[in-house]
């Protein structure tokens, strides 16, 4: 049985709402008064240059960092996300760029990592294998040779697909993908982007953090741009073009290009 929610209508209230988030590390203001909406059934592309605060914002949502000020609303209710466990309990899963999977464990073991099914005190391998296979099949991740092969033997795209499948196993409502296509070839990138679209079609809210504007424009329904810790633009993807996103990313504004050259 697939663990992803069936088609849901896009609610008025965004699934996750961030309001006025501040975070500083010593004297460095990493985020200031950041607002962000992540609606269900939509892909939001989070863009920004290095150091713009993308990963800090992500980690505040994922429970790794605690914001200094501001509020996070989940399904309209204010919540505090103090740990990765809190986040998963709400239905928020984050797929980190290089840290999603443990190389020595096989696909099933990875997908259930930290949440193994247990029967009478012992690991229920058969049940986990069945559930993992069902989730992979529901996401049409079918290119792996065996779900019992160590993830070290998978290709980059397969790894990323397994990592995403791991994230959606848990009835998650929001999946955050950190640079999901970095270091992937063209075919593999396409495979991951298709998977992202399937998540959206399942009604999951997806946030994709990416440097690659091609990828962002291919999958994103909405685009949010961070510049030096401030949210400088956030709208439907159709309201942007490549040029304006780049301008927001590099100058924090658009149409008022710095005068030189």
């Amino acid at each position: 049985m697939a663990q992803v929610a069936p088609e849901v209508k896009v609610a008025e209230e965004p699934l996750l709402k961030v309001r006025g988030l501040d975070k500083h590390f010593g004297p460095v203001q990493a985020l200031s008064k950041v607002d962000l909406d992540l609606p269900a059934g939509q892909v939001t592309g989070l863009c920004g240059d290095n150091g713009a605060g993308k990963s800090v914002l992500t980690k505040c949502i994922a429970g790794i960092h605690q914001p200094d000020a501001g509020q996070i609303f989940w399904e309209g209710r204010p919540v505090e996300i103090r740990s990765a466990r809190d986040a998963s309990r709400l239905g928020i899963e984050t797929v980190y760029q290089d840290l999603a999977l443990a190389d020595n464990l096989d696909i099933v073991q990875n997908m259930f990592l930290g949440r193994e099914r247990v029967r009478r005190g012992f690991l229920d391998e058969d049940e986990m294998e069945r559930a993992a296979a069902a989730t992979l099949a529901s996401l049409r991740v079918t290119t792996v040779r065996s779900i019992r092969q160590p993830v070290a033997t998978l290709s980059g795209g397969q790894r990323q697909s397994v990592a995403v499948a791991k994230a959606v196993m848990w009835n998650s409502k929001l999946v955050i993908l950190d640079e999901p296509t970095a270091a992937l070839g063209v075919m593999q990138t396409q495979m991951v982007l298709d998977l992202v679209k399937r998540l959206r079609d399942h009604g999951v809210a997806v946030m994709v953090i990416s440097h690659n504007l091609n990828d962002v424009f291919e999958v994103a329904d909405r685009i949010a741009v961070l510049y030096l810790g401030r949210m400088v633009a956030q709208d439907k993807a159709s309201a942007f073009d490549r040029q304006s996103v780049v301008e927001y990313m590099t100058t924090g504004t658009v149409g008022r290009a710095p005068v030189e050259t």
Partner: protein, 337 residues
């Protein structure tokens, strides 16, 4: 869960279910242990031919009794090494446990089972300290346990003034006793190995240990309570070292503060010969047992064939290097696939 259910592919999952099911993957993993095991068979066969005394019930029983303590320590050590840690304090725990268990019996007239329990629990206590130093004080396991190796060894010498403690003869139950025809140390080794195998391959604790050793951050981000798992692993190792210490003391009916000096590296060697990776994430109880058996066969065979101890050390060193080199080759072949 029957095999028939396993074999039946759910509709639409054919591409995945056609792969290798868990049971066969398990056999494949066992086959990876085959290298050292074949070596054991070859060595055993050669010794059978070379010495008429080798393949006798007395000698084989002696081999298993001799390897029992190393094997028990190796079960704990493999768990620690799987988490990418190491426990160097084992030999001092063996000494302290032996000394304390005999002391409370001799000086304080505690019953022998109680004295033995004290020995085991003291080992667990050192395990708690090791685990806390590694997880809460963030010391590298090598340094933390190097510290407790010295400190605990010092305590064992201090409380005895460096003198061995003679225990009453009935203290020999664990070392020289028998369950039916089987010597107690062999029974204990079998129980420890079975429980250790179960923990590593059938429980969440074991799975978490592999994950932590494979990638600490991944394990943490996956919601594993990393500190708890690590402390549990060091405590298990401590308890087993304590048990090992009691067996050693029981065998010689003496609490010797100088006991156990060689056990440290022997246990690590057994684990490494058995295919565990010091980088973490890999290793099995069965591998550790095979490693311990191989080491004991080298020493037993050396004695039977009148090969000097010096040569035995040399051969053991070569075997350790060969085993790890073989493992490296295998690993690289796997990665380049």
């Amino acid at each position: 869960m029957t095999d028939a259910q396993m074999a039946e592919p759910a509709p639409g999952h054919a591409a995945i279910e056609a792969g290798e099911p868990y049971r066969r993957a398990w056999i494949r993993r066992l086959l990876e242990q085959l290298g050292p095991f074949l070596f054991v068979l070859v060595l055993g066969g050669a010794l059978t031919i070379a010495s008429p005394h080798f393949l006798t019930i007395t000698n084989i029983s002696a081999v298993f009794v001799q390897m029992s303590v190393i094997a028990i320590l190796a079960v704990g050590q493999v768990m620690v090494i799987i988490t990418a840690g190491i426990d160097l304090s084992v030999s001092s725990v063996v000494a302290l446990s032996g000394v304390l268990s005999t002391m409370v019996v001799v000086n304080d007239h505690w019953s022998i089972p109680l004295g033995m329990a004290v020995g085991v629990l003291v080992g667990g206590g050192v395990g708690v300290i090791n685990g806390v130093l590694v997880t809460k004080v963030h010391l590298p396991p090598f340094i933390a346990t190097l510290g407790t190796l010295s400190a605990v060894g010092g305590i064992a010498l201090l409380i005895t003034n460096g003198q061995p403690i003679a225990a009453p003869t009935s203290f020999d139950v664990l070392g020289d006793g028998q369950v039916g025809p089987i010597p107690v140390p062999i029974v204990l080794m079998a129980i420890v190995a079975a429980v250790g195998w179960f923990i590593l391959s059938r429980t969440t604790l074991g799975r978490s240990a592999y994950a932590i050793g494979s990638s600490y951050e991944t394990a943490r981000l996956s919601g594993i309570r990393v500190d708890r798992v690590l402390i549990a692993v060091y405590v298990i190792q401590g308890l087993l070292a304590g048990l090992g210490g009691v067996i050693v003391a029981s065998r010689v009916v003496t609490g010797d503060p100088a006991a156990g000096v060689n056990y440290n590296l022997d246990a690590i060697a057994a684990v490494v010969i058995g295919g565990a990776s010091l980088f973490g994430g890999e290793g099995t109880v069965i591998g550790g047992l095979i490693g311990a058996l191989l080491m004991e066969l080298i020493s037993n065979g050396g004695d039977l064939l009148n090969i000097s101890n010096f040569w035995q050390n040399f051969i053991l060193g070569v075997v350790i290097i060969a085993a790890v080199a073989y493992d490296q080759v295998r690993r690289r072949a796997l990665q380049s696939r």
